[in-house]
């Protein structure tokens, strides 16, 4: 455990180091920051790895007069899986971020040491959240994580909408903290102390009402942070506003702490009732479908990726829902499949989503704009970013040689095996068409992004004179891409990583994962490798065949129209139009027509439809009360008299002595 804390210390030291070595020797500061941070991640990761490898959870109790009893930290298999994802992706984002900010610092716009310091604090806080074993440490680290990510989101605070998105984010996370506040308070009422073990011990003695309250509050609190549909409204604006390496970390890791929280509560409660499993499965399906639908409607590349995070959280929730159903209907096989699918998809999503965000960050750095309508033809000018992005895209839509497919395959199996049981859990099989629709729409959406942004010809000057970003930037991206491919080609790796936790979650002791999963894993690697082998074989024969015939270069055929302009290419909105028209108003596309122009923009159903109008109504109600304080002393005296009379009435007629 001390190794882990040493790792965290190194990460914080990296931030402080960057803060100290600022000013003229900023380049040295960057180097110190990167080296220290990577070493910190490796040491902390080693501790987590050891827990997974040896299967021996670590624990550390710090005694002292802290409020709410002494602090307990611990790493069990669940924390270890999340820790590995956090530290790996965190290091990659840090490296990308340093180079990204170096370019910004070169233009002298902003001192970067503060961003680096808060990035290091954020990383350390997330690691602490995952390792916390008492309420005070958990909520403390949770809020430090929320505050430091707020500070990072409003890095470009001179723009008005960045501040607005930052405020929406802060309000959402603070409401989440208050929900957790109430959850832990309800739970603590029955517990002896504020530590998680005491909570676990008190779980059986929680009354039915209290259990429902705890479960719902957990769903709201962690749901806000995870961002499934009704509570996702803060996620797209926050990710669009944040610098790209921060939104990569947030989308890949920070929203996963919500999933970690749900799993931790499930573990402590020892399984949830069936209704909760159905609710989570329902939320997963709705988040998945709506998330990808709204992603299709976006013009801004980072908002699109953010909505895809909502979709993938939906898939993860479907996995957890199936797992919870398995536990509540006492079917360990379903539970193990569901949890394995959900957990592995969390890790996979952390990898390919941060890869995609780093790609979009590189595009933003090179072209200065995020609007897909102004991009195009970047593959030729930024080949390595394009390679990383297309691998990420293939991974996210869940096709065989990549890691996204493995976790979706597990979720499918979980859904199908639930369908085979005789009880009412059979209805879970209806999740299969939903998941198929989600991956179909995801394929449509990422064909659109990859095609419109990187392929075809440059639509504006921004895109045409884009230059490839320096080497330091796309190395982390390619590392993540490599991780996606290896996990895709060797799924046994990923499944082995999560098997210990899955056994714990499903509460089946140390029986192995179901046999079809193990054999399936090796078969999938066979499918993946055969696809790659066959493709290379055909590519080589095609090359050999082609050399005999010269390949002529002509302008694109396009039915012999010889003056095509870049504006005639399919844009992001036209590409998505057929699909969005099918779903009608649900897709939230607002069309503005004037005599001369027609513009479409995507609106968020929950943010514009529910959250903001609700706030305006609360605001209006408050203003109506403003009349109380209109400045006349007489009325103030009357208020005091009224209060006195009320109390005297209470005295006279209130409870008899």
């Amino acid at each position: 455990m001390n190794v882990f804390l040493a790792g965290l210390g190194l990460i914080l030291a990296a931030g402080i180091g960057a803060a100290l070595v600022r000013g003229t020797r900023a380049r040295a500061g960057d180097a110190v920051y990167q080296i220290l941070l990577i070493i910190g991640c490796i040491t902390a990761g080693a501790a987590a790895g050891r827990v997974l490898a040896l299967g021996a959870p670590l624990s550390l109790t710090i005694h002292g007069a802290m409020p709410g009893g002494d602090w307990v930290l611990g790493i069990d298999s669940l924390s270890a899986v999340f820790l590995l994802a956090i530290l790996g992706v965190g290091a990659a984002c840090a490296v990308f971020g340093t180079h990204d900010l170096a370019a910004e610092r070169a233009r002298g716009r902003r001192a970067t040491w503060f961003t680096q310091l808060s990035f290091a604090t954020l990383l350390a806080a997330i690691a602490l959240v995952v390792a916390a074993r008492t309420v005070v440490v958990f909520l403390g680290a949770w809020e430090v994580m929320a505050i430091s990510s707020y500070v990072l989101i409003v890095a470009h605070h001179e723009e008005e909408n960045v501040r607005r998105s930052g405020l929406i984010y802060l309000v959402a996370t603070h409401t989440a903290t208050l929900a957790l506040f109430a959850m832990f308070a309800t739970w603590d009422a029955a517990a002896s102390s504020w530590s998680f073990d005491a909570l676990a011990a008190a779980a059986p003695s929680l009354g039915p009402g209290a259990t429902i309250a705890v479960l719902l509050l957990a769903l709201v609190g962690f749901g806000f942070k995870a961002g499934f549909v009704p509570l996702h409204f803060w996620l797209p604006p926050a990710h669009a506003a944040a610098p790209s390496h921060v939104s990569a970390l947030m989308s890949g890791i920070v929203i996963k702490t919500g999933i970690y929280g749900l799993l931790r509560v499930l573990l402590l409660l020892g399984g949830a009732p069936a209704w909760w499993g159905w609710l989570v499965l329902g939320l997963g399906v709705s988040s998945g479908v709506l998330g990808v639908l709204w992603a299709l409607a976006q013009h801004d590349i980072k908002r699109l990726l953010a909505y895809h995070s909502v979709e993938n959280i939906g898939i993860i929730l479907m996995g957890i829902g199936v797992g919870a159903l398995g536990v509540s209907y006492h079917a360990p096989v379903i539970a193990m499949l569901g949890f394995a699918g959900g957990l592995l998809h969390t890790v996979n999503h952390a990898l390919f989503k941060s890869l995609l965000f780093l790609g979009s960050g590189a595009v933003y750095r090179a072209t200065g704009t995020r609007n897909m309508e102004e991009l195009g033809g970047l593959a030729r000018r930024m080949p390595l970013t394009w390679l990383g992005f297309v691998i990420g895209a293939a991974a996210i839509i869940g096709v065989p040689p990549f890691n996204g497919f493995v976790s979706e395959w597990l979720v499918y199996q979980g859904l199908f095996s639930a369908g085979q049981t005789s009880e009412v859990s059979r209805l879970a099989i209806l999740g299969i068409p939903a998941l198929a629709l989600i991956s179909g729409l995801a394929l449509a959406c990422f064909t659109k992004v990859a095609g419109v942004v990187f392929l075809g010809t440059a639509r504006t000057a921004h895109a045409s004179d884009a230059i490839e970003i320096p080497r330091g930037n796309y190395l982390p991206a390619l590392a993540l891409a490599a991780a996606c491919v290896t996990l895709g080609a060797m799924p046994a790796l990923g499944i082995g990583l999560v098997s210990a936790t899955v056994r714990e979650l499903a509460g089946v002791g140390n029986v192995g994962l179901p046999a079809p999963v193990i054999s399936g894993a090796s078969m999938i690697s066979l499918v993946a490798l055969s696809t790659l082998a066959l493709s290379t074989l055909l590519w080589l024969t095609r090359r050999a065949l082609g050399r005999r015939w010269t390949a002529r270069r002509e302008p694109t055929w396009a039915c012999a129209y010889d003056a095509p302009t870049p504006r005639m290419q399919y844009t992001s909105s036209s590409f998505a139009a057929p699909l969005l028209s099918i779903f009608g108003p649900l897709s939230g596309v607002r069309v503005e027509r004037s005599t001369t122009a027609m513009r479409t923009h995507a609106s968020d159903a929950v943010l514009d439809g529910v959250a903001l109008p609700l706030w305006r109504r609360v605001h209006r109600a408050a203003l109506r009360l403003r009349g109380l304080q209109q400045g006349r002393l007489h009325l103030y005296l009357l208020y005091v008299m009224a209060a006195l009379l009320v109390l005297l009435g209470y005295l006279a007629f209130g409870s008899r002595p």
């Binding site: 403390g140 430090v144 308070a185 408050a622 009360l625």
Partner: protein, 477 residues
Amino acid sequence: MVLLALIAIPALGAAVAYVLSAPRRSTLLIVIAAVHVALVARLWIVPGEQALTGWLADDPLGRVILTLVSVLFLAVAQYAIEYVRVGDPPGGRAFVTCMLGFLAAATLVALSHHFALLWIGLESTTLAVAPLIYQRHDRRSLEAVWKYLVLSSVAIAFALLGVFLLATAQPSGSTGGRPLVIDDMTLRATALDPAWLRAAFVFTLIGFGTKMGLAPMHSWKPDTYGEAPCLVGGLMSGALTSCAFLGLARVASICFAAGQADFIRPALIGFGIFSLVIATAFIIGQGDIKRLLAYSSVEHMGLLVLGLGLGGTGAYGAVLHALNNGLAKAMIFLAVGNVVLVTGTSASDEIRGLLRRMPASGILLVVGLFAVTGSPPFGMFISEFTIIGAAIGEHHPWIAAAVVGLLAIIFVGIAQMILEMVYAPPVQEVERSEERGRLVIAPAALAVVVLLLGIYLPRPLTDALSSAAIELGGRAP
């Protein structure tokens, strides 16, 4: 002996300061503040001292509030030295005198175990602070001080009536013990006449409630904090309201001892929730930062009274919350003071670009935002968490839900204003920050203390809080 010194030194200092010249006045102020803190520290080392035949005594509840007042006064004094020199109307001769007078009166309130003495102390704190509110000598501060004086005097009159009713509730002769002395009254609480005791509680609740600024008797607060200089606002919202809460807590402890718990708990909870609702309504869309902090003070007073009314760990949470709220409120008031000093206005939509113009105060404001709204790393989170835990523990889940909901809305209102002030770009670009170094030390120190309270509660403090909670009809967590 220490108790008398604690009151006499500031009182004498106040008289002497009136005749001294400006620089020596400031040094006198800071010296007395330091001596006061030292004496209070000595109280912590050897607790339980008595003076004036039991009229002045040191008990855990009083000691916690006294520590808050003393530490707060030291920070404000350090801030005042610079403010007196550089404030828009520089602090005159009466400024330091009134501050020291306030310290003496507040110490009297904290230490007195005789209700009438407590009343006199509270009345003198009101009168000591009145000239400080009128520091700017313009029409708005004149109106503010007038309303403050009239409302407070009426309230104090009711409190006096309450004290007299307490005296009538006490049986005369040997069975009743010394009249109006808290220790005797708690010992012989069952002998008190319930009808008079309840009437006394009603009037003291109105009297001390108005001094605390509970809704609906809070109308003087936004005007007073809005017009008074910020350090005075900090002093009042931190120390004065806590002394008023101490008075109410003393009366409540008598009532709890006399078995009137089921009469006073609904009243306290009712006032608590009502204050929270009113505070929420007025914080949203508030235009002035100082008035917003006033309503935030109303909110936290509501939480204190709610904690006291809930019982169980609520009493422990309430006393700890008084400590945290005092320090956090003073910290954010001093930070706002720096801003108002430089920008000249407290209207929030005219203040922009603090991160550029005054980075230190800007960051302190953001830290203050998270401290005042009870976010975890800070002390306020622990006390709010205890109070809400008590609400659930004492089977009032709906009250807990309502409180959490209102806190969420309040956070939005405060965050909306402060974050816009700090992060929006300044109207005209400014190259070097117009920050005054010395004015940042006090709020920064307070911020550190509030953060520490969230992470580490020293053993003596937790013992004092636990015994205070038991005294107030609750229990330690």
